[in-house]
Symmetry: C2
Subunit: 158 residues, 2 copies
């Protein structure tokens, strides 16, 4: 996105798509994240990881999630009041590996204005994090709280 | 858990519960995580956060998720071959705030042995991350890949 436009609720419609910049993942990043947040052998040590389910060093799913969020915030989902997620269905069809170059492709699935709060709505998105081969390493279907543009002040009578 | 027992697939059954140790969250941790992974005003600056949806500094949902994972790995879900998640439904009913003390309460909901791979199964869990008031700040319903205990070598005939 080189576009600097910021989106409010009424700017979103099903089928609208966004793509982030890319982020290159290496083994040092995988191990550093895992040491802090998910210290399991298959995320910490390539040799130990060989004898596990992953058959080699794999990033924590939460690392993939964190990279995804940073890409969305910094380059990929320009919501005027920020990306405010209530949650959603999350899956990791394949692990992120050292050497992967990730990007996030997002699509608006549904826009539901709030009945009780006219200033906002809930937006169902699909955010797919892909590697350089086009494999999906994370699929997230978040529900976001998105606000309407503030009303322009009334024009004074002449 | 002071128990050092490690659990395999056949040790799990619906209703089995685990509780982690606790982790105290402060503003510095919230800001540090957000700077790296989710740099939005409501996660970075208490003053700016006041005028947002969160009405005060709030941890990134991904920070809550990362703390949850570390608690599970280090103190709360002693699976013999590690915690290997395929994904699941994730929600953040309330934000984590500075001063919160988090713990995770997990429950086995369903154990489904694999039909094609007799060495493993899928386990549906519910993992609720609670603060010191008992409020749920994250609910995650992960599907985990869990292995059976390796078979004992056959006893030689006498």
């Amino acid at each position: 996105m080189t576009d600097t436009r910021k989106f409010y609720l009424d700017d979103l419609h099903p089928g609208l798509r966004f793509t982030t910049a890319e982020h290159a993942v290496d083994a040092a990043q995988i191990v550093e994240f895992a040491r802090q947040w998910d210290p399991q052998p298959f995320h910490l040590d390539a040799e130990a990881a060989r004898r596990t389910f992953f058959q080699g060093l794999a990033a924590s799913g939460w690392h993939t999630a964190a990279i995804t969020m940073r890409l969305l915030v910094t380059s990929g989902l320009p919501l005027a009041d920020g990306i405010i997620g209530a949650g959603g269905e999350l899956s990791w069809p394949k692990p992120t590996r050292a050497g992967d170059v990730l990007r996030v492709e997002s699509e608006v699935l549904e826009v539901a204005p709030s009945r009780s709060r006219p200033d906002r709505g809930m937006v169902q998105m699909k955010c797919e994090t892909m590697n350089q081969h086009g494999d999906v390493v994370q699929r997230f279907l978040p529900k976001l709280v998105v606000f309407r543009a503030p009303e322009a002040p009334p024009v004074p009578p002449r």
